[in-house]
Symmetry: C2
Subunit: 327 residues, 2 copies
């Protein structure tokens, strides 16, 4: 792969180049990792998309919502990329976006780009690959990058930490079920979308929406946001009802944050967060990748196993050797 | 504190010296940590107790069981130490063993030593402190060290990783509730004790015991253990019924493991495991404790925040500087 040419093609919006580049950043081969780093450097960071995180459990209508929301956006002349973060896809038996037919119209839209979640994935690796895929989509001049996740484990937190806006898609529910939504996620999300506000469920969706609005009001206000956020909005992805209104809410929040410097501050905080995560992960990785460290580790482990050294003492010895300059 | 004198007192079984030493290993002050390391070196590792991990949710009768089990052991002339691991104690409002009156008889027994869980604890620190407290109790020549935990988060796994035997105390339950026991814990435990096999619940406890025995049979056999382990046993802590039989099962498993080299192998594996944990924790701790690293980290973080460097690139740069010899 010629890096300069590929970078140019990505910046010109060539979808095939983008798809190949995302495959490259998803690779765990060391030579591919080096190429990926080069490519990410070459595509630049001068373009920004609106990064929208979307979480919702299976069955809540995420695919239908993305189809409906995406079509509305492309209908307004915007270019939309959809990425999936699903660390559990290996367990649930396949990518949640593997079946593109569930987003039939959007997947055939020239202004939309849908990327299924890679299988066999660990959260740590997924988070980095997804952030790199976002960077590539931004370089390809997409206006909106939608990052989809099922509400499993820490994937929601990871997606929230790489999004400008975080949406939670929920189904109409009774009052008791309201408590099933994890408080941490309620506190993280900017807008709760209560889906299926149509047909027999419409009244219940409206009530659920009011319930969530009430719950959100009880939570700590965010000083950086307008008073009426986070908020709950009822939508029907199926009937494409309320989708434009929800988008208007998102735009209002984005405009407010951009005006008040909150947008930039959030991106800066997120960059710091991911840097620290990368350092932690990279440091631990060296324990198994650095030959000198591996040798020392094995020798000390032997001393611990044979009872010659206590575990804490051996660990202290090793770390003092790794950081000799200051200790 | 004079280390040599204290070590001698501990080895002579002086309870006050042991209690003070455990307070020392629980301290997070750096000067105390150094003293604790010295003391742990001075007391030696030549004595071994039987380390029994015990997990069970609140209400299952853990305190009553420990009282009953502990009295039975001291009645046989054995010396028993009870330690609690409860990383959630800050949330649940106090140590589970804070109220020693729940083990009234045992706490006044000269051959028993009960140590409540320290409050304000994080799991990482708790695990190390508990392992060090176990080492001190072994130096003080206790025959049995009972490590108690509530089934919260990763504390069960941590306790299992520092125990020779791991027991799960459960209440009589209906068939549906059986599924509520986490599979990982079922796979970790050596003996399931179904408590409250007395009065109205006796029949139900017997049924529950059979249910668990069936579930255990469905799980992967452990090649290192006799065919009939892990097993389920019904006990009544309140009526002190089945306690001696349970102890006989424990002794049978211990004898078998000692004969077949499994006992030593398990301790060696655990030492390796905790060494690796200590290295990982120590490595990450240096990011905030080592001044040179901290300075580099802050500078690179600034470059990431300002967009001059990508997070992954900056992390790679930092780690290459920390491990210059081999990269």
């Amino acid at each position: 792969m010629d890096i300069t040419t590929t970078a140019e093609k990505i910046r010109a919006g060539e979808r095939r180049a983008l798809a190949r580049a995302i495959t490259l950043v998803e690779s765990t081969r060391e030579s591919d990792r080096a190429l990926a780093a080069e490519l990410l450097g070459a595509v630049g960071t001068d373009r920004q998309a609106l990064r929208i995180g979307l979480s919702g459990t299976p069955g809540v209508g995420k695919s239908t919502f993305i189809e409906s929301f995406g079509k509305m956006l492309t209908g307004q002349g915007l270019r939309v990329a959809v990425l999936a973060v699903d660390p559990s896809s290996t367990r649930s038996g396949g990518s949640i976006l593997g079946d593109k037919t569930r987003m039939d119209l959007l997947s055939r839209d020239p202004n939309a780009f849908i990327r299924p979640s890679p299988s066999q994935s660990q959260l740590g690796g997924v988070a980095r690959r997804t952030r790199e895929a976002i960077a590539l989509c931004e370089a390809a001049d997409f206006d909106v990058v939608l990052i989809e996740t099922v509400g499993v484990g820490q994937s929601e937190t990871a997606v929230a930490e790489m999004s400008d806006l975080f949406l939670l898609l929920l189904a109409p529910a009774g009052g008791d079920e309201l408590q099933g939504v994890k408080r941490g996620i309620m506190e993280t999300c900017d807008i709760i979308l209560v889906n299926k506000a149509d047909g027999d469920l419409k009244a219940q969706a409206t009530r659920t929406c009011a319930d969530y609005a009430g719950a959100l009001r009880l939570m700590r206000k965010r000083p950086q946001d307008p008073d009426d956020f986070p908020k709950a909005v009822a939508v029907s992805a199926l009937q494409e009802d309320g989708i434009t209104a929800a988008w208007d809410e998102m735009k209002a929040l984005v405009d407010w944050r951009k005006e008040h410097g909150v947008w930039d501050a959030r991106r800066t905080d997120q960059a710091r967060f991911w840097f620290q995560e990368e350092v932690r992960a990279g440091l631990l990785a060296r324990l198994t990748s650095d030959d000198a460290v591996k040798t020392q580790l094995a020798a000390l482990e032997q001393d611990v196993a044979s009872g010659k050294l206590r575990a804490a003492q051996a660990a202290e010895d090793l770390i003092s050797q790794l950081f000799p300059a200051t200790r």
